[in-house]
Symmetry: C2
């Protein structure tokens, strides 16, 4: 059986080996991208689920429409407009199977094999691989502490007139945690207009701001229907239900709906109804505020632990999101560091996992602070510190 | 915004107009492909859901693995082996977002733009469009009353040495309802081996046999790992939960897992657990037997109504599935017939909707007997009969 070119291009990387489930149950993982299950509103969801089974099972378990459950589409649009100033009368919204499917459907509907996408480098591996799976070339633009470097973006657009799309995570970028300032967002959109490329703005972390001032989404500046805005319920309700959305010009949403029809027909309808009812019956804003409290505290614990155990490393405390991006001292290689860390029963993701060039090297690592408990964060960072300071010492004598 | 070639090739057809929700609430739809909500085991599902929320919410609402919830994978494999003789030690199973996603992932992992897929003509539009969305060419082989005509398949394979895949629904084919006999299944597999093409066997209706003898799946004859077997929980549990599966050689499942990772990460985990628990705690076979009873009776009602109201039409009562394929008398055009039928408040799908050639014509229509009640079937067929016999008469005076 011969595989397609597109899927053959997605090679299993050495990093997968590092991230495989550890044999030692005592291992602390700082490698995930998961929200904390403590934030899942399970009790409220249970009540709503019982209600749906009681009163609406024939509809909730039946086939639905590809664009999504209409009341959820409307309620999501309304909230995006009122809370974030997002969307106008030329836009439509489609419910997707997680934010991941927005990247997939954007690629399916807009990109041909051999097309070029410009993205931050490093960036979210799931989206990069979605583009790769459509035979698309990636051109990376580094982050400069304030998200994508816009001067370098301009150069990349000049050098790659064939570019079709800019993929960006402007708010709490994954993995760097950086936020693109408003002026850069405006310039990015001007450049996109000048070079006639589409912008895919991936914004799963917007609600998770722990400090600083909100920066409007690029999509709010979009007057000519150039931006696809991708959002997700994974980080504010739960990821296992696989629900996200795209807000984009109506003609594109129509095409994405056709693409979704042939991909999975529609997303799980029961949970579309459940999420709509959660938003209708409970105070989503208060719920999100509680999520922020939890994560803000954990970020503080991780920052303090890093100061204590890895003072030679470099990091900037992000204003939001789920990740801390740490540059290792002394130019240590992130991949080698993470391999050794696993031996010391702590897992992190090497920076190279996020690069456009799959053979690239990075001296950074990505640490997640949302899933581990404060105690696990403290233990995990202490173990990481023992790798940094004494790379050849044994875990037993040096940890804690 | 310029769309990709692949998505531009999926044109909205005239048929969509016919199938749009009718303005008259009194309209009877025989156009669906939906199972009856009366078959959904909602009470049992409600109990299990309450249990999951109570005891397993942190895991059930969290991210899962792309290949699917391990206990569901194992239980599904075990049932396929014990009940249908499916799968051997070289096979693996992946949980998908409905049977639709199997076609999508098969295309993604095996087909390049410009490749050729051979399929029955007419066939399931959802799968055909999934292939089209990867820029694949379709070559249709007619059904001859016993599924795909194998002599014509042989000719097609000779004429198209570039063909990469055969897509077939050998059991209760959609839309024709035909069953491919065992001898033809063997020949199909021999031809696939001779021409080195992969076989995608789409088998969502296997459990819904109302008469006649079971015919083993093509996959049970597969000794060289050439067949992808696609199944679904949509017709035996519920479609709104979007769960299906593929059973295929392990290396291909590994590639499909990579493809699924970039498509939607994984399918709704809560309902994967729920379905596994349903199979563990309740008697799935007894549940399926009840589904069969319901559908067998409705098929009988439709057959009798057709004899009464459309005696000039031609149909063979299928041994299973959800559809009755009716050839109109006097060479009437199916599309025109369905348009008129809608005016008379009954909806059916014109045969042309299922053709490989999107501009093709067909004198057949597809009728669904699983969703409408016996009373609706009787009314719907009577209305259809009034179209056939008196195409220009008004609905008011002629129906019933």
């Amino acid at each position: 059986m011969e595989f397609s070119r597109r899927i053959s291009s997605l090679r299993p990387s050495a990093i997968r080996e590092i991230l495989k489930a550890p044999s030692d149950p005592d291992t602390v993982s700082l490698a995930a991208g998961n929200p904390s299950p403590e934030t899942f509103p399970a009790a409220e969801m249970a009540l709503i689920a019982a209600d749906i089974f009681q009163n609406n099972a024939p509809a909730a378990l039946q086939y639905g429409v590809s664009e999504g459950y209409q009341p959820l589409r409307e309620r999501t649009r309304k909230r995006l407009a009122e809370k974030h100033g997002l969307g106008n009368e030329t836009d439509e919204l489609i419910i997707t199977s997680g934010g991941q499917q927005v990247a997939e459907l954007a690629a399916k509907t807009l990109l041909n094999e051999g097309d070029t996408v410009i993205c931050e480098d490093p960036s979210f591996i799931g989206a990069l691989n979605a583009f790769r799976s459509y035979g698309v070339k990636l051109v990376g633009v580094p982050c400069n502490g304030s998200g994508m470097d816009i001067d370098q973006l301009e150069n990349a657009l000049k050098k790659h007139p064939e570019a079709k799309m800019i993929y960006t995570i402007p708010t709490f970028q994954n993995p760097s945690g950086e936020v693109m300032p408003l002026a850069s967002r405006k310039r990015l959109l001007e450049l996109a207009a000048k070079h006639d490329v589409t912008v895919l703005e991936d914004d799963p972390y917007r609600e998770l701001r722990y400090s600083g001032e909100t920066v409007p989404a690029i999509k709010t500046l979009d007057t000519e229907g150039r931006v696809i805005y991708a959002g997700s319920f994974s980080k504010i309700i739960a990821p296992g239900i696989r629900l996200g959305f795209a807000l984009a010009p109506a003609p594109l949403i129509a095409k994405m709906t056709v693409g979704k029809q042939v991909s999975d027909v529609h997303s799980n309808l029961f949970f579309q109804i459940l999420v709509e009812q959660f938003m209708a019956r409970y105070d989503l804003e208060a719920h999100i505020a509680r999520c922020r409290e939890l994560y803000r505290a954990r970020l503080g614990v991780m920052d303090a632990a890093l100061k204590k155990h890895m003072p030679g490393a470099g990091w900037i405390v992000p204003e939001g999101g789920l990740f801390l991006w740490v540059k290792l001292p002394g130019g240590l290689d992130g991949t080698e560091f993470c391999r050794k860390a696993k031996e010391k029963k702590v897992m992190a993701v090497p920076g190279s996992a996020f690069l456009c060039d799959e053979n690239g090297v990075s001296n950074a690592i990505r640490l997640n602070f949302s899933l581990p408990s404060p105690e696990q964060i403290e233990i995990g960072i202490a173990r990481l510190g023992s790798v940094t300071l004494h790379p050849l010492a044994s875990a037993d004598t040096k940890e804690m």
